[in-house]
């Protein structure tokens, strides 16, 4: 038994953010019915493809059912209407113009289906101007501020970075949309009433920076056009080692003592005051530390040196590759990757004692569940 068993979600979403929302709900046992346009969701076109199936679509749509409905015609719209009559929630990520064209506008839906939890995801929210209703993840990362400040210690001559892969902001958005939808479904259980939830993708990015940005909003920190406003200073960074990269955080005297021990107390470390990280962390010292640390760490192996550092209380960790994670002992112990049909899927970040998450079915083929869904 999982937590959302018995809940039916209709997903008309056609972008990764909306599909990820649906998958998070499906992880917990909600029956998610994916309504696809004739030809299929545009996300099925994202590469790489294996055996004709998109890996992105495969990742975002486990545990769901698929039905093709054309919302261009009256019969299709009536069909979706009938699905919504017995649904608990609707997840959509189209712009208001699409909603107008299909007739599934928020206010109308609320009147027709007062019990429905309707989550609508758009780049800036429902009230944003017309030209803010369509954006790609790179635009969302740009408008939300993280790109400008990535990586740390950005050189103004280097372009900002949108994040990892093509869809990172979409996954953060999906989390917030799933949180709000699941909370609203709890209210529905208790009151029998629905809600309209208006999620802003850029709002998610801004929320994720709450303490950094909050200080600037309140004037505790000077907002600026510097690329380094989100930085923390200090010597922490990614360093090359003999078989990849490690990441070091160093903030305290204890970290420094641990690191010196790890390196075998080399002479150059004696030039640094014991409390330099807390009270005397000048840019010159940071540069000097990095310069002298680099040749040492370059000879180490990432996993071994990380384990030795952790034993000394130093937050030095490997920069994992995909292969590292699949082999990672802790990931294996917690079954982060789950096998489904002979393929290894990233599953969920939590272990739950009473309602564990199981991936039960691979992403559906197009229209695979038509008979069952429309019965």
């Amino acid at each position: 038994m999982t937590a959302l068993t018995g809940i039916t979600v209709v997903e008309t979403a056609e972008r990764v953010c909306g599909e990820w929302t649906g998958r998070l709900l499906a992880d917990f046992g909600a029956q998610v019915i994916k309504v696809e346009r004739p030809g299929g969701s545009p996300t099925r076109l994202y590469g790489p493809h294996l055996g004709g199936e998109s890996a992105v679509f495969g990742y975002c749509n486990t545990n769901k059912k698929s039905v093709v409905i054309s919302l261009d015609d009256e019969a299709g719209r009536a069909m979706l209407g009938r699905l919504l009559e017995r649904a608990d929630a609707l997840i959509d990520d189209h712009d208001p113009r699409w909603c107008m064209q299909t007739g599934f506008v928020p206010a109308g839906l609320r009147k027709r289906f007062p019990r429905l939890v309707h989550c609508q995801i758009t780049p800036f929210g429902q009230h944003a101007p017309d030209d803010c209703q369509r954006a790609f993840p790179i635009n969302v990362a740009a408008a939300g501020g993280w790109a400008w400040h990535t990586p740390s210690e950005s050189d103004p001559a280097d372009p900002p970075l949108m994040g990892a892969g093509r869809f990172m902001p979409d996954y953060d958005t999906g989390l917030d949309a799933a949180i709000a939808t699941a909370a609203s479904l709890l209210r529905q259980r208790r009151t029998g009433q629905g809600q309209f939830i208006d999620v802003s993708e850029v709002g998610v990015q801004v929320s994720r920076a709450d303490v950094v940005l909050g200080r600037a909003l309140a004037g505790d920190d000077e907002p600026s056009h510097s690329r380094r406003t989100y930085d923390m200073g200090g010597p922490g960074d990614v360093f090359a080692c003999c078989d990849g990269f490690v990441h070091l955080v160093m903030l305290t005297k204890a970290h420094w003592q641990g690191l010196r021990k790890l390196m075998g107390e080399p002479e150059w470390t004696g030039e640094f005051p014991e409390d330099w990280l807390e009270f005397q962390c000048t840019p010159e010292r940071v540069a000097s530390f990095r310069e002298q640390f680099r040749p040492w760490i370059a000879r180490q192996s990432r996993n071994q040196v990380s384990a030795a550092a952790q034993a000394l209380g130093v937050p030095l960790v490997p920069v994992s590759t995909a292969a590292d994670l699949i082999a990672n002992a802790q990931y294996r112990h917690r079954s982060y990757f789950q096998e489904l049909g002979g393929t290894c899927y990233p599953a969920v970040a939590y272990r739950m004692t009473a309602s564990p998450v199981r991936l039960t079915s691979a992403a559906p083929g197009l229209d695979a569940d038509r008979g069952e869904v429309l019965a």
């Binding site: 038994m1 937590a3 959302l4 917990f28 994202y46 790489p48 294996l50 609320r110 929210g125 944003a128 954006a135 790179i138 740009a142 408008a143 501020g145 993280w146 790109a147 400040h149 990535t150 990586p151 372009p159 900002p160 970075l161 990892a164 093509r166 990172m168 989390l175 917030d176 949309a177 949180i179 609203s184 709890l186 802003s200 709002g203 709450d210 303490v211 940005l213 909050g214 200080r215 909003l217 309140a218 907002p223 600026s224 056009h225 989100y230 930085d231 990614v238 990441h247 955080v249 952790q310 937050p315 960790v317 920069v319 994992s320 802790q330 970040a349 939590y350 272990r351 739950m352 309602s355």
Partner: protein, 402 residues
């Protein structure tokens, strides 16, 4: 009973937050933003470090004030037996205990999940640890950039041909916190259905891996290791950041040839659209370096906001990369509720970052900012726990409440 009826979908849910720094308090804040009554367990003997960052006055600490919207504060000295006894009574009165202390720290206080279950059988324990609460590497600890590095994110963020430097150092805590909040709400559903509580054991590094899950899944399918590749995109072209006037940068993404042609018109270089190196997606993809060089040369003298507005007017997705000054100066965010004014426990009114969602009807009210230390002691000890005046004063005198 709750202190105030703020409405919202989680009205009536009480969360006890034994949470410090960022990931745990962020999870707590999200639940509060949905209407839950969140009570932060604090003590002058073990302050949330956020009360100490950025100054000496714990009631005017900028990080703390930026974070704890609609969170209540109760003081409990966890080093005191009497304090722990009171905390146990609060656990009995709560739905969720959220903890991001070091692995094993709560168990040392006699408050393992099993022990909390004895106190309240249907308690939901949400545990946030870097690597999860146990297991072969469960002892390891780190900060947000450590999560990002281990979780596989850092390796996939970097300029092409250079060391992958990862996201900005601040990235990671809040995503982990959001994953924890979702787990908490899922557990509430399970309890609502079955009456059963449970432990939700979150691994922050796994939460980060979820953000690169499609890359991990593609690797599992193809065996081809994913690499960091700047802002390159296999399906959209052009796709990237291009320079603008005064050090600005614009994000630009074109889906298909028609959008590319429209972009060229706005840029005043229609010839580029017909250039045989760039006319089709495949050509643009194969000649990406030359394409990006051409575009950069054209965009560089333009004002970022103005150019992006003109591109969007033609249906091309383009936004300036926002600096902290751009974000703070955004009229849109001040008017649409992305930023909210709250009154903090110290009496100051303060703008804070609001939630990413609006709800209609019954959105949770957000009026109060971060609490002062122990601001809600009276509510907790008198109203919820029903201490009489003499007991309450005695606990304060003994330091159990301090």
């Amino acid at each position: 009973m709750s202190l105030r009826d703020r409405g919202g979908p989680l009205a009536g849910v009480r969360v006890l937050a034994v949470a410090k720094v960022w990931a745990g308090p962020y999870a707590a804040k999200l639940l509060a933003q949905l209407g839950a009554e969140v009570i932060k367990v604090e003590s002058v003997t073990a302050l949330d470090e956020m009360r100490a960052y950025g100054g000496v006055d714990i009631e005017h600490a900028p990080y703390f004030l930026s974070q704890n919207t609609e969170v209540l504060s109760m003081r409990v000295n966890l080093k005191s037996k009497q304090g722990i006894a009171q905390l146990r009574r609060m656990i009995a009165a709560s739905d969720i205990v959220l903890d991001n202390l070091r692995p094993g720290a709560l168990a040392k206080l006699g408050l393992s999940y099993e022990a909390m279950r004895e106190i309240r059988p249907d308690i939901i324990h949400v545990s946030i640890k870097m690597y999860g609460s146990e297991g072969p590497l469960g002892y390891q600890t780190g900060y947000a950039p450590s999560f990002a590095a281990i979780g596989g994110l850092t390796n996939l963020v970097g300029h092409e041909g250079r060391v992958p430097r990862g996201m900005n150092i601040r990235y990671g805590d809040t995503t982990a916190g959001a994953a924890a909040a979702f787990g908490a709400i899922a557990a509430l559903h399970h309890r609502e259905r079955t009456g059963e509580g449970q432990q939700v054991d979150l691994s922050a590094v796994e939460a980060i891996s979820g953000l690169v899950g499609d890359s991990l899944f593609a690797f599992a399918l193809t065996g081809e290791p994913p690499q960091h590749q700047g802002n390159a995109h296999s399906e959209l072209s052009p796709h990237g950041f291009f320079p603008a006037k005064d050090g600005g940068w614009i994000s630009l993404a074109c889906d298909g040839d028609a959008e590319w042609r429209a972009a060229c018109e706005v840029l005043g270089h229609t010839a580029l659209a017909h250039d045989t190196r760039f006319a089709t997606h495949l050509q643009r993809h194969c000649n990406r370096a030359a394409l990006e060089e051409e575009i950069a040369r054209i965009t560089a003298p333009h004002d970022a906001a103005d150019l992006c507005a003109r591109l969007r007017a033609r249906g091309v997705a383009a936004w300036p990369a926002a600096s902290s000054l751009d974000l703070v100066a955004s009229d849109q965010f001040w008017s649409d509720g992305t930023y909210r004014m709250v009154i903090c426990g110290n009496g100051d009114s303060r703008p804070v970052v609001g939630p990413s969602w609006r709800m209609e009807p019954d959105e949770a009210a957000l009026a109060c900012g971060a609490p002062t230390l122990g601001q809600h002691d009276d509510y907790v000890y008198r109203e919820l726990l029903g201490l009489d005046e003499a007991e309450y004063e005695a606990f304060k005198a003994s330091g159990a409440i301090s």
